[in-house]
Point group: C2
Chain length 328, copies 2
Amino acid sequence: MKIAVDVMSGDNAPAEIIKGCIKALETCSAKLILVGQKPLIKQELQKYKYNKNMIEIVDCKEVITMEDSPVNAIRTKKDSSMVVGLNLVKNKEADGFVSAGNTGALLSGGTLLVGRIKGVQRPALPVLLPTKKGYTLLIDCGANMDSKASYLQQFAHIGTIYMQEFMDIKKPKVGLINVGVEEEKGNSLTKETFALLKEDKKIRFIGNIEAREISNGKADILVCDAFVGNVVLKFMEGFGSWIFSILKTEFKRSLKTKIAALIMKDGINNLKNKFYYSDKGGAPLLGIKGIVIKTHGNAKEAEICSTILQAESFAKNELIEKLTKNFQ
Amino acid sequence: MKIAVDVMSGDNAPAEIIKGCIKALETCSAKLILVGQKPLIKQELQKYKYNKNMIEIVDCKEVITMEDSPVNAIRTKKDSSMVVGLNLVKNKEADGFVSAGNTGALLSGGTLLVGRIKGVQRPALPVLLPTKKGYTLLIDCGANMDSKASYLQQFAHIGTIYMQEFMDIKKPKVGLINVGVEEEKGNSLTKETFALLKEDKKIRFIGNIEAREISNGKADILVCDAFVGNVVLKFMEGFGSWIFSILKTEFKRSLKTKIAALIMKDGINNLKNKFYYSDKGGAPLLGIKGIVIKTHGNAKEAEICSTILQAESFAKNELIEKLTKNFQ
């Protein structure tokens, strides 16, 4: 088994990406294919001791940047780490591909180069969202800005398989993000989607989930279009950071509050760890014929490592085969 | 000047609503028309000392509940406090109407009974959202679940007038909630809206605002469709409550952390007050030919009072006339 890693993309490339690869080798049994500029990679690898049989390098000259136009970059930068990595998956030379690069380019590339699973209308990009009870899969968070009800219904299936296989939930509860709990609430997309999910025997639909209830973790899977999912995800990050910054200010106000801050250090860290988790891997593009996972642009060692392990686990557990079977 | 108040609607009706009315009389110069079941109102009013010339009662028998279907309730419950109150505004017997009742019914009733301002395609329900810098007007948060770009453009105008008149911002900055800052990002609605706002000389458009940036307060007005606005607003409430509950748990963990909690009491209250503000009034339905304001269903004295004062201020400052002029 081989997992390819885009060593050139992301804010901390290549140093942290390679550090994450070395870390991953401590536990994973798959070989890693480091995709990027060979001289740079070789130089970076000299810092570490590792089993040389477990790392291959695939050389390429270009990098897709965050500023590149997604579809254009995939079409023109044929020798970029991202395109080369995606082609390794397409040609079955790698069992998975991890990248911290340009999300749009990875989504376009995943769909255009690796290709959709037969029967899947649109692949989705789900993210595990922290909640009171653990994690809820928010699907879709980035792939389809203008969705149809039938796409969302397929996301419910994809999410169900994902949560069964990787979060060990036998009958995961599917909720639909909406502005009210009643069936008739929402926009035309959610009303149509509700009607489809209600009749769908393959999933366990529990109805509409108001945004106020998202953090309560009532549903294991929350279905929404990518615009709404992306807004929820990013607003949570921004709003969360703001709350932490207010707390910081309040804790720094006086000598007394600084003492309180010392006492509360573990507590505040518990809180932070709930939101800034790096052990849950990245966001896989699900619905394509290979394993392609996006990690945060600012991912460091821990997150790169957990995403590689996630890719390995997907490959071992035959996620693509299971998804393919569902849509047959 | 007269402001009508729906005394029968909301979780805390009629006691807290009437308490809020009495409180408002301390500062406002408008007379209040209490709309609801007369015997109940008279009984409640006995608890207070107030200038009897400043309160009128308009009797009605029915109440629209939270469970009622909005349009249906407006059509059939003609003698409900909400319909009677809206008709007072329609017939110019009141200069404004405040209700903590069924949002959908108030929106339908406001549009159907009071009627749209000429030129306004759809009225909007904006809410002031707390940010690092103060407050940002999130428009729309509840009125139009399936919006068109031309509606959103009008919301930018309505929001601009609102922030100029009531938040004293001369040239309020308008942002469009989106999934990225670049013009080409988003769904078809935001792409079309961007094109309209960019060319609009009447407003100060500063471009797309990513959800991650909402809490930073870069824009004075954030334009979005009601589905997205409602999700942002409600998710903030739910997520905020969760963070507070985690903090509470952490502060209760041991004797030491309880002492830290005592030290941090003011700080935590500062944080809470940023999110649970009751002094900013309610959410006005803007774009109709009268002043109609929705307060939280669980509003108590302070919020009812500030919403009445808000209605009075709208009337004094001729908000409806200014909006009418914009759309001429």
